[in-house]
Amino acid sequence: MNAGIDVPQIQRFGALYIASARLKSMSKWKTIIAAVDVGNPLFYLIAVGIGIGVLVEQGSGTSGTNGIKYIAFIAPALLANTAITGIMDETVFPTIEGFKWRKLFFAQNSTPITGRQIAIGVYLAALCRAIFSVTVYYILLLAFDVVNFGISVLLMPIAVLGGGAFGALMLFAAAKIEKEDQFFNILGRLVIMPMFLFSGTFFPLSSMPIYLQPIGWISPLWHATELGREAAFDYGISSTMVIVHLAFLITMLVTGLTLATRQFEKRLAK
């Protein structure tokens, strides 16, 4: 063997090799990804900013939203939700494809690359997608004069953290399931949709009956949204709660990623 294989180097950088391969695959879809990431925020900003927002403010002014313009109130949630759906697309589909549809992971694992590195590589590439989507959205928020450039840039890392926490769990879930068709139904209708509606996205969580509020408590979207509102508008959240929100998201991210890397190794070694 004289090809110059450096195993210690692969052990250090293997996850990055996987991530760059994933980005290369994603780049084949760049037109669609760009259209989605620009189109989606445009639709929301027009519909909510011009349509629903005007209606809300005619009804109750800004008293229900701590004095914040309605479109600005929901902007951190829209941003976090964009990170969540972006990262979900780039973890769930590649993972099911990698294990089942085209078995790419088995090809990758027949090189010195490990299951753990594959999991982390897929995750890193998904984070890149989330960063791209969130950046595009943030630029549009500036363009629509929803937020002012400044401290509100913090909305971006917060949204990516929210997406990253959810994405880590999705990476694990997608590696765990064997039958994907029911999974997509459950995920779309019973996880994503209720999370989007009941995470304090369109109205403060506290305005919901108490028995519905736990949906928000376990939702990464709610935690990221609250953090975003505090960062961008000084929303009036206690510093204790800021720590709680951060701790929740980081715990979810670390737990999800740990479970996912284990599940990848287990399933590849079968």
């Binding site: 063997m1 090809a3 294989i5 692969i10 088995f106």
Partner: protein, 308 residues
């Protein structure tokens, strides 16, 4: 003799109650072309996944290049080229992109891979398809690309799981020719197959597997010599009469197998035996004298045919 590249002792793999591989032993020497021959479900692919340092074993020992693949997976895999039963190429990427990305997984330099790609495209006869998306290739081309991909890191051992299953006869012959070239270059090949002609063409030595166990081991010609006669006379009397005439036929040869559609008679001289049958006025509807093959060895060892 130098130390074997692969050494397997008492290898067992269980999935729950099911024993897929049941205590097998074998060695593979450097430069050798070694085959695992057996029907589907014999445990060949499971054995291959363990040799590929990707699957765990239940018990036994395995050493590949002096290392336990379960403990040193990445180190062992750095020396292997793996061609799985099902092509797992990235269909969205082009031929060269597939080779390039795979080479990067071995941490190879861009310069090295770029040079290697040219060599491999020629080897796989895919020069004209270099910028074509993989999903547009034919089955035979995909197979050749998968083999080329396995060679990108200049492996010490190439593992091929059912290399020509699902290919048409012409594509199979092209592939055999490519693999034969590798063999001539001194690449150690380990392959599984349920085609006896493939095993005869490509293997210096092979083991016959059935139900997770090794039934026999040797060179193709050695196995034929040991377990079969020189020639085989195949006679057909029509499906109803095959059984009827069987008792009479069995008196005429050393060994006989009655299959649903034909009777196989093992003998040193097929023509003479056929003459004898004619004289007995049994009149088969068709007859064929051929040399014994590994198929006959398998039939002798297991009482079953390889492809059922």
């Amino acid at each position: 003799m130098s130390k074997p590249l692969i050494s397997v002792r008492g290898l067992t793999k269980k999935f729950g109650d099911f024993t897929a591989v049941d205590g097998i032993d074998f060695d593979v020497a450097k430069g050798e072309s070694f085959g695992l021959l057996g029907p589907n479900g014999a445990g060949k692919s499971t054995t291959m996944r363990i040799l590929a340092a990707t699957s765990t074993r239940t018990s036994g020992t395995v050493e590949i290049l002096d290392k336990d693949p379960e403990l040193f997976g990445p180190l062992v895999r750095a020396h292997l080229g793996v061609v799985p039963q099902q092509d797992n190429l990235d269909g969205e990427l082009t031929v060269t992109e597939n080779l390039y990305i795979y080479g990067r997984y071995f941490g190879l330099s861009k310069k090295f891979i770029k040079g290697k790609i040219e060599e491999l495209l020629e080897f796989a006869q895919l020069e004209e398809k270099r910028d074509v998306k993989v999903e547009a290739l034919s089955g035979g081309m995909k197979r050749r690309l998968t083999i080329a991909r396995g060679l990108v890191s200049e492996p010490d051992i190439l593992l091929l799981d059912e290399p020509t299953t699902g290919l048409d006869p012409q594509a199979r012959h092209i592939l055999w020719d490519r693999l034969f070239r590798l063999k001539e270059q001194g690449v150690t090949l380990v392959l599984t197959t349920h085609f006896m002609d493939e095993a005869e063409q490509l293997c210096d030595r092979l083991v016959v597997m059935d139900n997770g166990a090794i039934m026999a081991e040797g060179s193709p010609s050695g196995l034929i010599k040991e377990y079969s006669s020189k020639e085989v006379l195949e006679v057909r009397f029509g499906s109803d009469r095959n059984k009827e005439v069987a008792p009479q036929l069995s008196q005429m040869c050393e060994r006989m197998e009655t299959l649903p559609d034909r009777v196989l008679m093992y003998t040193e001289d097929g023509e003479a035996l056929l003459e004898q049958i004619m004289q007995a006025k049994l009149h088969p509807t068709t007859s064929l004298v051929r040399r014994s093959s590994l198929e006959d060895v398998f039939l002798r060892l297991t009482g079953r045919t390889l492809i059922e």
